[in-house]
Symmetry: C2
Subunit: 239 residues, 2 copies
DNA sequence: GTCGCTTTGATTGTGTACGATTTCGTATTC
DNA sequence: GAATACGAAATCGTACACAATCAAAGCGAC
């Protein structure tokens, strides 16, 4: 059952650094980013190990890695689960992004080379294609990659790492608190951002990024009386 | 030999959550923060395990935790070493702090309760005492704790976690690139900050924090032709 | 029929053993 | 005499096995 989830690993040659543990972590992370693993799902060590054909030792390392990125939460003697950020954490994640990413976009606009622009264009195009093909999971992951690449262009590895963490967690937040399921077609913002970056227009890139993130936050349902997440609905509705 | 380094763990009841691994990580982290473990030192798994009376399994988990916080760097098949951030990373760490902490101080000033102020006062006092007693390591760690507590008062757990990471790494940067060894007596800045926080003066707290961080950065020796760190000098001069 | 306790099952936490890889010391050769 | 190649020791990476712990099922009492 879980084999079908993990076997088509998108990038098998991603990193083999530090053994196979990183590969497992990468596979699980992309599965989470693509919403094939939804918040609250249990990640049993034997189960994951069987899916990746590795032993529990390496699975444990991978889960710990993901726990440090706060993509999974480990309950002592209970196991690892895909994290379920509460509304407070959800708000904080986007607030932190609103604090970090605009200035990063500004820097990126001043440093972007034609090669960078081409890479971003390819990303947007791939995202569009995935969306057209109905693969909303892939589209969502590529959308995150877009933000991540901007941070990388800004050439601030430390802040880029923070943004990578926040983007990952945003995927969980979206899975839990997204309002309208089907409409993720706000790639206009990405197009506008790309234009500002290509023009080297720092202030505009900064403003566009800020408004983009505000828009994203406004599309979340963080009303105080909202559902306490679909913990049981998901856990019981799936198998 | 290493037993003498680790046995007097400052806070044995810190967290026993998630087994003993967290305790080992905490012990190593405080040792690094207090500059008792200096950048470049090797952290052999058996060695650390013997020091804490735990097996390699838990040591490995602890080292991986610290590696994710970038306090130690793990070289495949070589072992774990206390991280040696290069000058670029050193600059980035303080740039990131300058981006995050001022606004956090602003928020903290608006939310600080009398109990919070008392806690900060106690921290400053303890730092002063440690400095007077010649325990520069302890003083340095407490100085970091001061910044961390401000972030906690601001009630932004996500950003506070980032700041905690940056403060930790700052300790490594200071160990490597500090200019004048003996003069760390700039606790005046902390006093002024405390005053602004107690008065609930957000803008002043923000400005003070910013200038404080700029001062700290200016006290580092990040000239391009500086020494390539004291890797061997420290490793050979200590024992 | 429902609540509480006990037992059983499964899963995680930890320790240990074996294999792979690197490194350091030594001997050999140019 | 210096550089290189080889061998041995040490260390890390992974797998497996046992013990501790928790959750749920089974049973009994109210």
């Amino acid at each position: 059952m879980t084999d079908s989830l993990f076997s088509p690993v998108p990038d098998p040659s991603a990193r083999q650094a530090r053994g196979a543990g990183a590969a497992v972590a990468e596979g699980l992370a992309t599965a989470i980013h693509e919403h094939r693993l939804t918040p609250g799902m249990k990640l049993g060590e034997d189960e994951v190990g069987a899916a990746f054909n590795v032993s529990r030792t390496v699975v444990r390392a991978a889960l710990q890695t993901l726990a440090h990125e706060q993509l999974v939460s480990i309950a002592p003697h209970r196991g690892a689960f895909v994290a379920q950020p509460d509304m407070r954490e959800a708000r904080e994640v986007f607030e932190a992004r609103a604090l970090l990413e605009p200035r990063t976009a500004h820097s990126a606009a001043l440093r972007a080379t034609p090669a960078d622009i081409a890479l971003l264009e390819a990303h947007i195009s791939a995202e569009h294609d995935a969306l057209a093909a109905g693969e909303t999971g892939r589209a969502l992951r590529l959308s995150g990659q877009f933000h991540l690449d901007i941070a990388r262009i800004a050439d601030q590895a430390t802040i880029a790492a923070f943004i990578a963490n926040l983007v990952s967690r945003s995927s969980l937040v979206i899975a839990l608190y997204w309002r309208r399921r089907n409409a993720i077609c706000e790639s206009n913002a990405h197009h506008a951002l790309l234009r500002a970056l290509a023009d080297g227009n720092g202030p505009e890139a900064e403003a566009l990024m800020k408004s983009h993130l505000v828009d994203l936050l406004s599309l979340l349902d963080l009303s105080p009386g909202a559902r306490p997440a679909r913990t049981l609905a998901e856990a019981l509705g799936k198998p």
